[in-house]
Symmetry: C2
C-alpha cells in the first residue's frame, strides 16, 4: 500500500488535514512512521489536538523521540498530560536521559509524581502495565447517580465497562459491570448490585500470572490493588493480548537459543541481534567440543571402519529433533499451565511410550532401507539399535529436562536447547560406537 | 489443591449444593473433570439449571460425552438450547456420530437449523468461531429505547458492550458502543450517534486475519457479515485470546517438526502423539541419509585423518542452531506481520551482517581454543573457516527459506526444520571436507 500521507503532504495540505480527521489513529501512526524526520513533525502538528496524544502513543520509540526533540515545551506538556499514564510511562522508559529530563520538566507536578511512582514497579509486573484511568463508585450511590458520574468523567477513562467500588479508605470492596448497571433499576444502590466475589491482582504480580487468569476466566479487565488492598489501577484485555504475544515470542526466541529481543525484527540492529544470538552459540560451541572428545575416544574404530561416520549426521539429527519435539511440547504445556511440576510421572510415562513407538517405527524403517541398499545385516542392526536408543533417550530426557529446570527455579525454555543437544549427542555417539565395537568386532 | 467437590459429595450434599452456587463456572468445570464418571453426572445434576449449560461449555469433550450419554433427552434439550451457539457447535463437532444424532434429535428445530448452518463454515474461519448472540438496534430507535431493548433481551447476549445497527434487510450499517449510549442524551437517535466507519469480518475470513486485526486496533468485538453484507454474528475478544494461544502453540509444534495437536499434552494419547511426531522424523531420517552419502564421498579422507570426525558434532550442531535462530525469528516476525513478503532484501541484508558477525566471533574463539589445545594451526584454520562458512550459510538460508516457502504459498513453519537441517548439514560437510582436502592435502 502506498503512503497516502506523503502524497497529500506534497499535493494538498487541506485535504491531508481532512483525511487525518477521518483516519484511525493506528493507521495514522503506521503511515507516519514511514515519513522522514522533518515530515513526521509537520504532519504530527496538523493532527487535531485530541488525536495527537493517541497517535503519539502508537508510534515507535525512535519516532516519538524525533517528535519530542522537534516540538516546543508547551506542546510536550499538552501531549504527555493527554497520554494515558501507562502509555506515558512506556514512552519515558525508552527515552534517553536528556529527553526524559525535558519531558518531566514540562509536565504538571501531579503527572510527574505519578510517572515517578510508576517507574518504581518491577518490569513485567501488574503495576508497570496497569492504567490508572478507571471509574470508581461508592457503595451508597444509586445506579442513576452512577450513570451521571460516568457521564461526567467517563470520557477520560480507558474502559467504563467495569466500574470499581471503593470505600472511604480507597479499599476495593466490589466490582460492578456496565451490563449490571444497565440491567438494574435506577434507584438501586451500587452496594446491592455489586459483585463482591471478584478477581484482582496485586501490583507486584507477574504479568504471566495475569495472562493465565485472563485466559482461564475470559476476563475483560482486572483491578490492581497495592499491599494495603487499595485500588491503584486496572489492567485491560487489550494489554493482555499484547502480553500474550510478547510472552510467546520470548519463548520462541529462548527455545531457539537466543536472548529475547524487545523490538521488532526489522527494527533491531544487526549488532544487537548478534549480541542476542552469540551467547548460546558460544556456549553450545564449547559444550559440543566435549562431544568431540567422545568421538576422539573411538578414533581407532573410525580409522578401521570409516563408513560408520556416514551414519553420524542421520543419528545426531534424528535424535536431536526427536528430543526437541518432546521438550517443545512440555515447555509449551508448562507455559499454558497444562503441565504442572507434579505431573513428572505422567509426563515420563507418556514420553516413554511415545519414544518406544517412534523409536521402533524409525528403527525398522531404517533397517529395511539399509537392507535394500545392501548393507550387511549386522551393520543395519548396529545403526537401527543405536537409532532406537538415541530416540528413546532423547525423548525422555527432552521431556524431563524442562521439568527439572523448573524444579530448580530456572527458566525451562532457556535451558532446553544447548543442554539437550549436548547430552543427546553424547549419548547417541557413545551408544553407536559401543554397539559397533561389540557387534561388528572392530 | 484438593478437590472440594469430592469431599463435599462424600460428606454433605446440602453444603455441596450451596458451594456450587457460589463457585465460578470455570472452577466447577475444572474440579468436575477430576471426578469419576458416575460422580460427574451426580454433581452435574445438582447444578442450578442456568449454570449447568455454562459449566458444560467449559468441560473437556470426553467429560461432555460422558454426561450426554448419562442424562435424559429432556435434559439434553435444555442444556443444548441454553448453550451459546458457538459452544454448542464446538461440542457437537467433537462428538461421535451416535451422540450427535441423539443431540440433534432432541433440540428445537430452530437450534438444529442453526447448528447445521454453522457446521458448514470452514474450520478456523470467522463463521465457525462467531457467536450469534448480539444486540442489534435500528437506526431510527432513540437511545432511551435502545436501553429498554437491551434490558429486555440483553441477559442472553454474550456482550452488550457493542451494539450493531442493521437496516430492514439485516444489512450492517453501523456500530454503537455501550459507552456512546451511556454518554448520549436519551432522545438522540441511534442513527445519529452510531459509528459508520467500523471494522468487520466476513464469515470466510481466516482466524489469523481476525487475530491481527484485534491486536492491531485493540478491538473488543468484531461483527461478522455474510457475502451479501448481512450481519450474522460477532467474534469477541475472549475467543481471540484463545485463538492467539492456539496459533502460537501450533507454530511451536510445527517448528519442532510435529503436526499440530488439538488437545492438551496430558490428554493426548501416546498413540496420537506418535502419529503427530513420526512424519517429520521419518522425512528427516530419510533426507539426512543423503547427507550420509556426502560423507561417504569423503570416506578416504576420514580413513586417513580420523581426527576430522571429532569436529563433526560441533560443526553440525552450531550451524544447525545458528540456522534455527534465524528461521525462528523470521517465521515469528511473519506470523506477527512484522515481516512481509516484500521485505526479502532487508531481511537478507540484516542476516548477512548478523551471520558475518556471529561467524567471525565463533571462528576466532574456536581457532584460539584449538591453538590452546595444541592442534596444528592448519587444522585450526580448516575447522574455523568451515565453522564460519557453515554459520554464514545456515543463517542466510535459515532466514530466506521461510520467505521462500511463503512465496510458494506453503506454511513457513512446517517447512523450516527438516529442510533447513538437511541443506545446512550438507553444505557444512562439503565445505569442511573440501577445505580439509585443500589445506591439509589429504
Amino acid at each position: 500500500m502506498e503512503n497516502e500521507l506523503i502524497q497529500l503532504l506534497r499535493s494538498n495540505r487541506a485535504a491531508l488535514r481532512q483525511r487525518l480527521d477521518s483516519m484511525n489513529v493506528v493507521d495514522i501512526a503506521e503511515q507516519l512512521e514511514q515519513l522522514d524526520k522533518a515530515d513526521v513533525v509537520v504532519v504530527f502538528r496538523m493532527l487535531p489536538k485530541t488525536e495527537a496524544a493517541e497517535v503519539f502513543a502508537e508510534l515507535d520509540h525512535d519516532v516519538q523521540q524525533n517528535i519530542i526533540e522537534a516540538i516546543t515545551d508547551r506542546e510536550i506538556r499538552y501531549i504527555v498530560d493527554e497520554l494515558f499514564l501507562d502509555d506515558a510511562v512506556d514512552f519515558i522508559e525508552e527515552m534517553p536521559a536528556n529527553v526524559v529530563k525535558r519531558v518531566l520538566a514540562n509536565v504538571t507536578s501531579d503527572t510527574r509524581d505519578l510517572i515517578n511512582h510508576f517507574l518504581q514497579y518491577p518490569d513485567d509486573s501488574a503495576g508497570s502495565m496497569m492504567t490508572i484511568e478507571f471509574v470508581d463508585l461508592q457503595s451508597g450511590t444509586t445506579v442513576a447517580d452512577a450513570f451521571a458520574h460516568i457521564r461526567e468523567t467517563g470520557m477520560d477513562k480507558e474502559t467504563v465497562y467495569t466500574c470499581y467500588v471503593t470505600d472511604s479508605q480507597r479499599m476495593l470492596i466490589g466490582v460492578v459491570s456496565a451490563r449490571t448497571l444497565i440491567l438494574s433499576a435506577k434507584e438501586q444502590l451500587i452496594g446491592d448490585v455489586m459483585e463482591t466475589d471478584y478477581f484482582f491482582a496485586r501490583t507486584h504480580d507477574d504479568r504471566e500470572e495475569l495472562l493465565n487468569r485472563f485466559r482461564e476466566y475470559s476476563l475483560m479487565a482486572l483491578p490492581v490493588v497495592d499491599n494495603e488492598g487499595r485500588l491503584v489501577g486496572i489492567v485491560t484485555f487489550d494489554d493482555i493480548l499484547v502480553v500474550q504475544e510478547e510472552e510467546a515470542t520470548e519463548d520462541f526466541e529462548k527455545m531457539a537459543g537466543m536472548s529475547p529481543s524487545e523490538d521488532e525484527y526489522l527494527k533491531t540492529s544487526a549488532w544487537v541481534m548478534s549480541k542476542n544470538r552469540l551467547p548460546w552459540l558460544i556456549f553450545l560451541n564449547f559444550s559440543v567440543f566435549l562431544t568431540g572428545a567422545i568421538v576422539a575416544k573411538f578414533e581407532d574404530i573410525v580409522a578401521i571402519l570409516p563408513i560408520l561416520v556416514t551414519f553420524l549426521p542421520m543419528l545426531m539429527d534424528t535424535s536431536g529433533d526427536a528430543g526437541s519435539q518432546s521438550s517443545t511440547l512440555v515447555i509449551r504445556g508448562m507455559a499454558l499451565e497444562e503441565i504442572k511440576q507434579t505431573d513428572f510421572f505422567p509426563v515420563l510415562w507418556k514420553e516413554v511410550r511415545v519414544a518406544a513407538l517412534c523409536g521402533i517405527v524409525l528403527a525398522i524403517a531404517n533397517f529395511i532401507r539399509m537392507l535394500i541398499f545392501r548393507y550387511e545385516p549386522n551393520m543395519g542392526l548396529v545403526v537401527s539399535t543405536a537409532l532406537f536408543s538415541a530416540i528413546f533417550f532423547a525423548k525422555t530426557i527432552g521431556a524431563l529436562l524442562p521439568l527439572g529446570a523448573n524444579a530448580l527455579k530456572m527458566d525451562p525454555a532457556v535451558m532446553a536447547v544447548p543442554i539437550l543437544t549436548t547430552i543427546v549427542d553424547a549419548m547417541t555417539l557413545i551408544v553407536f560406537f559401543s554397539l559397533a565395537k561389540i557387534i561388528l568386532h572392530v
